[in-house]
C-alpha cells in the first residue's frame, strides 16, 4: 500500500493506493497517529484503494473517533466493492462518504 499525505494548515488529505489489510493497516495507523494532532479536517481518498479488510476498517474507525472529537473526517471515492463493505458493516452510516 502506498500512503500519500497532503497537509494544508489544519486540513490533511491522505490518499491510499493498493490494499488496506492485516499486513498494511499498521502503516496507516502509524501515519494517522503521527499526523492527526492539530488536524480539524481529515480527508481520506480511497480512489486507488482496491481492497479493505476488517483490520483496515478498524484503523479507519479509530481515525473517525479521533476526528469526532477534534473536527471532521470525509471518506472519498470508495470503489464498488469497498462501498458494499461499508454498507454491510454499517460503516457507511459512520463515515461521511463524499
Amino acid at each position: 500500500m502506498t500512503i500519500t499525505k497532503k497537509k494544508d494548515g489544519a486540513a490533511l488529505t491522505i490518499s491510499l493506493e493498493g490494499r488496506l489489510d492485516t499486513l498494511t493497516s499498521p502503516q496507516l495507523d502509524a501515519v494517522l497517529k503521527a499526523e492527526l494532532p492539530g488536524v480539524t479536517d481529515l480527508t481520506i481518498d480511497l480512489a486507488s484503494l482496491e481492497y479493505v479488510s476488517s483490520a483496515g476498517l478498524r484503523v479507519l474507525l479509530s481515525a473517525q473517533k479521533v476526528m469526532n472529537a477534534q473536527g471532521k473526517m470525509t471518506v472519498l471515492n470508495p470503489n464498488e466493492t469497498i462501498s458494499e463493505i461499508f454498507e454491510v458493516t454499517g460503516f457507511s452510516e459512520i463515515f461521511t462518504v463524499g
Binding site: 489489510d21 492485516t22 499486513l23 482496491e50 481492497y51 479488510s53 476488517s54 483490520a55 476498517l57 478498524r58 474507525l61 473517525q64 473517533k65 469526532n68 464498488e80 466493492t81 463493505i85 454491510v88 458493516t89 454499517g90 452510516e93 459512520i94
Partner: protein, 530 residues
Amino acid sequence: MDNMKNAAIIPLSGRIDSANASETEAKLTAELPADGNVPVTIDMEKLEYISSAGLRLILRVKKSHPSLSVINVSPEVYDIFEMTGFTEMMEVRKAYRTVSVEGCEVIGEGANGKVYRIDGDNVVKTYKNADALSEIMHEREVARLALILGVPTAISYDVVRVGNSYGSVFELLNAKSFSKILANEPDRFDWCVSEYVGMLKTIHAITVPEGKLPCAKQKILSAAGRLVGVLPDGLGEKLKKMVEDIPESDGMIHGDYHTKNIVLAGDEVLVIDMDTLSVGHPIFDLVQMYNAYAGYSISDPEIVLRFQGYDAATAHRFWHASLAKYLETTDEKKVAEVENKVRCLSYAYLLDRAIRHNDTDSPEYKLWRERLLALLPSVDSLVFECSGGEETAPDPDALDVEATNENLPTVVDFVNSRVEATDCSPKAMMQIELAVEEIFVNIANYAYAPEIGRATVRVSVTDDPLTVTITFIDRGVPYDPLKRSDPDVTLSAEERAIGGLGIFMTKKVMDDVTYEYKDGQNVLTLKKRL
C-alpha cells in the same frame, strides 16, 4: 556397613621424612581405630613431601588396617606413590585441581549448573549442588556407556574443584552448540535439522544391555498416575492407560535432546549432557524436545529466547521440521497426529511437575491443563510408527503453513490460484480474498496464541452450481467463531466494539459458513456460489 560409621579420616601435613617419621607415626597410631576392620582414610591434602621412611609408615598402617585409602594426594606425592607401586596396593586418590571460572565465557546453562569455557579447547561443567561428586561420576559412567554403544559424545577427562563444588572438564575443540548456530547462522537451519535428526535416530537405534540404564516410561507413568485424581471425566484414567500401553523398549533415550546439548566441535557433531540417559519408546525423547521448544514457554515466548538464544518462532519451526524429518514424512496430517500424542505427554509431565513443586497458580499451569483437557478426548493411543510406512501423497488442493500473519500472502495466493481457474468476477474474487484473510488472520492471532501452530487450507471447486469451498483446519484451542453474536451495525463510531467484525464480514460475503470441532481440530468451511 556398620564399620562405615566408625570410619576414620586422619590428616597428614607438611613433610614426612626420616627426621620426623617416628614422631608422626606415634601421632597417627594414636588416632587409628583399635579395630583393624574399620576403614581408615588418610587425607594428604596438606602433605608436601613423603620419603621412604614415611612410605614404610603407611605400609604398616595398611597391614594393621587393610582397608586403608589415601585421598587428596598432590601430583608430586602421587608420582612417588605410583613409582613405588603403592597405587596398586591401596586406593590412592589424587587431589582435585582447582579451576577458577571467574570471567570465563558461559557457553551453556542447565537446571543443574553452568558450562564455562576455560580455554580454547577445554570447558568445565559445574554443578550447583555442593555434593556434586556422585552426579559427576554418574554422568561420566553413562557417557562412557553411550560412547561404547556408539553415541559420539564428550567424556570428561578430569574432575576439578570449582569454588565450593566440583566440575568436570571436557575437551571440546572450538565447540559451538546448535542453539548458537540457529541463532547466528539462519541459513544453516536445514543442515541443523538434518544433523540433529540423524543423531537422534542414531541414539534411538542403539540397544542398551539390560539393567544399565533406567526406564523412561516409569517416570511418565508415575506422573500420569498422580494426574488420575487431578483430571476430570475419566481423562486421567484414559491418559494412564495410554501410557501403560506404550510398548517397552531397550532403545536408548537421551532425555534432554534440545539444541543446546548438540554441539559442533571442529567438524564433528557431538551430543553432550548424558546424565538423563534412559531406555524406552522414542516418544519419551520427543516429549522433552517439545517441552524445550514449546511446552515450558507456553505463556511466555521470552523463555525460549533466554534459554536457547533464538526466538519462539524459530524454535517452533525447528521442532516441526525435526519431527517431520524424524517421522520421514511430508504428510502434515501424520506429523500433526504424532505431535498431538507428544503434546499430551508433554502437558501431563509439566502439569505433574508443577503440582509437585506447588506451582499451580501460574498462567502456564492453566494453559497446560487447558490444552491437555482439549487434546485427551481425541487422542486414543500414544503409539506411532517412527518411520517408513505408507506415504500418502500430499493433497494438491491443500496448503499447510505456519499460522502467522506473515504467511497471509502465501495463503491468499494459493486460494486465488485455485479460484482464478473458474473465471469468476473480480468482485467475487475480492470477496473470497476478504473471507480468507479474516479467517486465516483469526487463526494466526488466536488459535495457538501465545504459541505458534499450523493451519491447513483446502480449496475445491464443484459444478452445478459452480461453487468454491474453502476449508480451514487448525489444531488450536477449540473455538466456534459462529457462536459470536454479530456486531450491531447501527451503532455510532464511539459505540462500535472492535471485535467480531471479520467473521461478520465473512458471513456477509460467503453463501455458507459452517464450523465443527473434529478429531482435535477446528474445521471451518466457507462456500461461495460463483
